[in-house]
């Protein structure tokens, strides 16, 4: 590894965003090292998705800095952040229903700068659909896919950006146990290819088996950071998820 690539892929510090009086994300710090999977955990409403939206450019932070591959990206429009190689999926899966699976993947390939040649695009569409297990679905309209296949397609579209960092917002949610194993394997194989991943997740099995580090948020603040087994045993984290025991 070169010196440049050992710096964090993503470095967030003091990230803050308020909606009216509610501070949804409050002075959050986090970092993703190259090739790492970092989990972003926390109870519902703790600000995880808002944090992803701030990083990916859907929302502008009120304050704080976001550095992606050494470049300050806080407040940059989403399309420029995407072109720098930061891809994401959405909590409520978003596929382009009026298009075929191949076109959905092409959507992620067509706007690279510099643009890819037509041949490169076609090859990449095939490769990416195969990568997520949808090789035989290229011509099928996305509206006809099952839930897990929609998730796969969304992942293929995100991978089409040739990302250096992938943000997965509850990508494993709603999968049945056998699909979950397939999903976990798929994410692990992305890591093995050297991709850095920041994932928001509630599925504890996935967090334990995938994440190198975890950041836990509650009410907009970071309350814990460390290895998965450490943070999941942290009393503050347990309290955030389960509440304070009153009969002590």
């Amino acid at each position: 590894m070169t010196a440049a690539s050992s710096a964090p892929v993503l470095e967030v510090s003091g990230l803050t965003r308020a909606f009216g009086g509610l501070v949804a994300v409050n002075a959050v710090d986090l970092a993703v090292q190259p090739g790492q999977i970092v989990g972003l955990l926390g109870p519902n409403g703790s600000g995880k998705t808002t944090a992803l939206n701030l990083i990916s450019g859907v929302l502008r932070p009120d304050s704080g800095s976001v550095r992606f591959a050494g470049q300050a990206i806080a407040g940059m429009p989403a399309h420029r952040i995407a072109r720098l190689g930061l891809a994401r999926t959405f909590q409520l899966v978003r596929v382009l229903n009026g298009m075929s699976c191949a076109e959905n993947v092409k959507a992620g390939l067509a706007f690279h700068s510099p643009p890819l040649s037509r041949g490169e695009v076609d090859d990449s569409v095939d490769r990416l659909l195969r990568r997520v297990g949808l090789a035989d679905r290229a011509g099928v309209p996305a509206s006809g896919l099952t839930y897990i296949d929609c998730k796969r397609l969304e992942l293929a579209r995100a991978l089409a950006l040739k990302p250096r960092l992938l943000l997965l917002d509850e990508w494993l949610a709603g999968l049945n146990p056998s699909e979950l194993l397939i999903g976990i394997e798929l994410i692990r194989s992305l890591k093995d290819e050297g991709l850095s991943i920041l994932l928001v997740e509630h599925v504890m099995d996935a967090i334990r088996s995938l994440c190198d580090r975890c950041v836990v948020m509650n009410s907009g603040r970071r309350i814990a950071e460390g290895r998965p087994d450490e943070v999941l045993a942290d009393p503050a984290v347990i309290e955030a998820y389960l509440g304070v025991s009153t009969d002590a």
Partner: protein, 315 residues
Amino acid sequence: MSPTQIAALAAGGAGLVVLALLPFYADAYYLSLAISLLQFTVLATAWGLFSGPTRYVSLATTAFFGVGAYTVAVLGEVLAWPLVLLIATAIGALMAMIVGISTLRLSGLHFVIFTFGLAELVRQLVIWYEVNKTRVLGRYVFVDITQNDIYWQLLALAVAVFAIGWLIARSRLGFALRIIGEDETVAKHCGINVTLAKVTLFAISAVFITLVGAIMAPRWTYIEPSIAFNPTISFQVVIMALLGGAHRLWGPAVGAIPLTLLFEFLSARFPSTSTLIIGIVFLLIVYALPQGVTGLWERVSRRKSEPPVAPQVQT
């Protein structure tokens, strides 16, 4: 090229020759009708270029149309005709960019109301200028342009709008707009500069509409703001495009031709109630054919090609 493509191209070329020669065999009434048909075909197709993929309903048609007409009224006698058209193009594009950059972040409904207000704003500005600066409300358009010239120019413009539309649909811009129409958030995260794409297309569409206004201006000989900025045109164009189906390049034209004939008939036969009837036609189209004729045709042909209909997932 496949034989069918060559045949289609030959048929299109032959049709174009027949249309181009129309002034030599049609009388004045049919020439005038043909001009109306071409005018609304170009307007509705240009409207659909932008509103079809983005699903923004623009009521600014008359604003651009009127600006084109006024460009001719002001400059027509001073400058050479191609130069007048070039200036109209530039003004239309500039206005569309300013309007686009300031409004295309608005959601659908706000955009509709803004564009409707824009037409009125431009009209009031022109009235204010004419009353306070030039001290005339109407202008005479004395340019050396015959009805035949108007017809040929509109025909050329119609060819251009279809050619540009066809090229856009095959370009990265066209693909970007389809994605934006499906899901704007996804489009942004695919690296698409959504604002740039929408403003570019809005400007292309507006240039065609402005040029129609400029080309049509000599037909009137006398114009004033209420003629050039007639809001009925905006609504008629929307109805036509919706009847045909704005999601296809040739959809708006399918709606423009029968409705131009219908409006022509209504305004001749029922001059005082034609607006009311147009309103009722509008309602009927929106309720009965939400996807337009092309949408209906696609549904029917899809049903024929795949007999066992799978349950459609409605989104």
